[in-house]
Amino acid sequence: MNLFGKKSYYSLDGNERSKKNDRRRAKSEPSIPDGMWIKCNTCKAIIYKKEVTEYKLCPNCHAHFRMSPAERIGITLDEDSFQEFDANMVAKNPMDYPDYEEVIRKAQKKSGIKEGVVTGRGKIRGFDTVIAIMDSHYMMGSMGSVVGEKVTRAVEYATEHRLPIIIFTTSGGARMQEGIISLMQMAKVSEALGRHDEAGLLYVTVLTDPTTGGVSASFAMLGDIILSEPKALIGFAGQRVIKGTIHQDLPEGFQRAEFQLEHGFVDRIVHREKLRDELGRILRLHCPQGREEA
């Protein structure tokens, strides 16, 4: 599985090369080695890297840092239960956008994955589920043909096998480089979810930071149950666009998870350390055996 391959975008765990560099620099300079300390963008505290666990939380303010699909699988699914779908699907260039291939190559290098979403099936607390996890490190999780196709296939697979589907969303919106074809992905995923819904199956979305644009205006908001991580930015329009339209300052906390909860668009805000338990409980309460046990 190429998914757990090279990850050059996130240095919390530190790879060999940066450790070597750290050591080299530590010998020659009296400064703090690179990569041992990180700054939390939320509380601005300087954090000792080793204090950050697999949950990727700020030890000071509990801000939820962005995660990769591999890291998400690690804290969500039962060990070794994940089977990936369509791992090799890659983008083409429907609009002949100049240098799109180069843009894609850079995104692949930065994220360590081939496209902006990882899909597959696995188990959470013993319960089978289909899962899709978007990656904000890949072109800001933008939705083009591949994201649309992989998510749609995952939903269709879930419908066919009568399984629930859980989608972790994070996206800046439609992939502009693929033009109108990226817009069509919104309709494509939504109609597949319509059939999953008609089959009486469970769809859970977990909104993570940030979930905006075309993804928020399609599958992110269609869950039977919509969970969100604390303080995640969730909204349709970008804040700069809104400011440019209405020429007003935006209220404190605008478009954050707590704002969406208050306005009735999110069922629950769940701390990342409790997410696996909550998802497990939701799956249990939606499966026939679960009902018997309860």
């Binding site: 609009m95 591949v146 649309g148 109108i180 919104m186 205006a217 399609s218 349709f236 007003q248």
Partner: protein
Amino acid sequence: MSDAMKSVGIARMIERPNTKQFIRELFKDFMEFHGDRLFADDGAIVGGIASFEGTPVTVVGIQKGHTLEENLKCNFGAPNPEGYRKALRLMKQAEKFHRPVITLINTAGAFCGIGAEERGQGEAIAKNLLEMSRLKTPIISIFIGEGGSGGALALAVGDTVWMLEHGMYSVLSPEGFASILWRDSSRVAEAADLMKMTSGHLLENHVVDRVFKEPEEGLEHNLSYTTDQLREALRETIPELMEMEQKELLQKRYERFRKFGEYAE
């Protein structure tokens, strides 16, 4: 000027005939219905029931004005969530009475404002996409002017999607495209060309199924030139879709949108 920029200019002209004018030309006995039953009535969405040559239909469209005063009433054709919810309410009503739905699309996009976000613009659009994809009655979507992104798509999940010659449909405006991707808003024309947002391009990649000619002298001077063609097409298509088995209708609609995407495996 490039063809794309020419169409962008024409599609946005303030004189361009709007949804209410198309309704007047194409249908009889139009009765406008108001409100989403949840929050408010959005002037940017006009909808109701009418007769098309004796067949009862539901018509829903996005309304732009010709004057500032009109535009203040319809928010320059930028719907709020309550507008999309009104549209959905009327489409569900059409489903109940098995009337065909005709949607008329002309918007720069869904409104970007604080209230729109507070009331769930994303959720409102998402719900329309899902519900339209399985609405148990025919839907014909017609792009009469601008088709701006998700705010346009929210009325365009149809069994067949039509467009006027100088209509346009894109994932974002050419201005937005140029400023976001190149940080240079002066490259609008280049963006418009690249984005393949004109009726010809959209027909080529099957985003639209039919294109209707506009008169040389401009649609605003001769609306019936184009509405005559539309009437002819509706006369043909409405019975065709109404006679189709419901299962087949829904399967074909599913496939119509399922096919989009270019990827390699």
